[in-house]
Symmetry: C2
Subunit: 309 residues, 2 copies
């Protein structure tokens, strides 16, 4: 079977660290071009993504890993050209944009894949099964990291539409929407916004759910200076504990670590992209982005000390 | 045909001014009870909406006109009891809540009607037809009013989840999503938030659209002290002008006022509610609320002088 000719549009840390090696390890794909405004990438490199689309012969698919603000325009153009499109998370800045892309892809009969990489840890389906049908006594999400360590040079994260601490926090949302045994509703969101930024550096969020008997909380913080914590701790009303650590890489059920082996987040994403393309299906779950929007709709905002960029 | 027994839950200005007279004028409905925490309403009055649901015999439908923050819980309970539900605008505080209600109503086989009263001006379908298939040269929404005159005592409007100037502004969004000949995307939203409030007192919003050749802008402002302006001015690239004034009550096409007669916003809402119930259909269009969410997702916020409440 001939490999699917794919290009990467937008070439930064996540493209270099994850997308390129995952494509190299998947025989169903052939990476034929990349584009970035900075001129970085894998040859042949285009500075203008429109030129890439014009010149890359036989192109069938693209992975879009630019900052979120330009994804809608690029993705709409690619869909219009009949290309299958994979979107890094978050799939767009606004919910109207991703809804529009889903409609365009359906009309054109191409695959649109809005990825949530954290869901591709093998712990996620196991945790979902452990929680299925249960009532929940408590949930505590702690998603805390040093922004200077994990987002060096990502100035866009602080600008309007840049998501701030929701950029990593949406990874937690993508996991809980996959494993929590009921719908989650944002009840309140206390956002701390640096005086020189437009997006939050920290967020304290309370959720409600019809299956909850106790408090559901998320604590997102970019100001952690020692180490990092990406944990989701859920206790069921009948006494089970489900603890995901390291962003979902490790899973403990009732205190016992589960022995889980998987392909890795991004290799598994590209495995699924092949399946979706083969079956001409799309996968677009807006719930993680919708929870961020819901946080803003219910938010209390406080200004905090400026960040050093 | 026996009238549909309906109750109003939440009894404030909009219930007294609009819902009660519209129900009185529609022979298909019989208003059998109201509830409000303040004890105001039409007899029999319940202070506790749960008691109303228990005691109102033969109840078939409810209109929920409480502040938005409590609508999801009340509506979910009503749907669970098999009642048809009409929601004042906005249908909920968060998008996850309204999505959940739509799923519950579908599962239960009852009618859920998320109303947008401004759409019930007879100008709206006429304006939509005048713009259908056109490219757009410009759009200017001006939605400006004195908050003290139009929202007396509505302290909730300034609290987290209270919408601020988006409470009237969502009326403009409900009209433009019905008449604009393409999808609208929020590109930027400059929000002015009083230092003693959690919601904006003013918003300057830029939109984009694939059918637009020029600027699309909305200017929402609660600080207007003389008169009020609720206008939507759209010019097509082939020279047509479509101007809605007075919140959609008046329509000018190419400068000429259109002679339009209609039942009135709320009588028309209840006429449609009857149709939906008779046909066991729901009507839930989240786009106006989604545009508010999209404004927050792209927002720049500035603190402005405190409001006097």
């Amino acid at each position: 079977m001939k490999p699917i000719k794919i290009a990467i549009i937008g070439y930064g840390k996540i493209a270099a660290d994850q997308h390129v090696p995952s494509l190299a390890g998947n025989p169903r794909f052939e990476l034929v071009a990349t584009s970035s405004r900075s001129g970085q990438g894998v040859e042949p490199i285009f500075v203008d993504w429109r030129e890439l689309l014009d010149k890359a012969e036989g192109l069938e698919a693209v992975a879009i890993t630019t900052p979120p603000s330009v994804r809608h325009e690029i993705a709409a153009t690619c869909i219009e050209k009949g290309l299958h499109v994979l979107l890094e998370k978050p799939p767009a800045v606004t919910l109207s944009e991703i809804d529009d892309l889903a409609s365009l892809a359906e009309a054109k009969g191409v695959t649109l894949y809005a990825t949530w990489h954290s869901r591709h840890n093998p712990s996620v389906p196991v945790a979902a099964e452990a929680l299925a049908g249960k009532r929940i006594a408590s949930m505590q999400i702690s998603w805390q990291e040093d922004v200077h360590k994990w987002h060096p040079g990502q100035q866009w994260i602080w600008e309007a539409g840049g998501f701030g601490v929701f950029d990593p926090g949406i990874n937690a949302f993508s996991i809980v929407t996959a494993i929590f045994p009921g719908a989650l509703f944002v009840r309140s969101a206390d956002l701390s916004v640096p005086s020189n930024a437009q997006t939050p550096i920290a967020a304290e969020i309370d959720f409600a759910s019809e299956v909850a008997d106790g408090a559901l909380h998320a604590s997102l913080d970019f100001r952690r200076t020692e180490g990092e914590e990406w944990t989701i701790d859920i206790r069921t009303s009948d006494g089970r504990t489900v603890l995901l650590e390291d962003g979902g890489a490790r899973l403990f059920i009732d205190g016992e670590e589960q022995n889980l082996a998987g392909a890795g987040e991004y290799p598994d994403i590209y495995r699924e992209f092949v399946d979706l393309i083969d079956e001409r299906r799309s996968s677009v779950d807006v719930r993680p982005l919708r929870l961020v929007a819901d946080c803003y709709l219910t938010a209390s905002q406080r200004k905090v000390e400026p960040i050093t960029m």
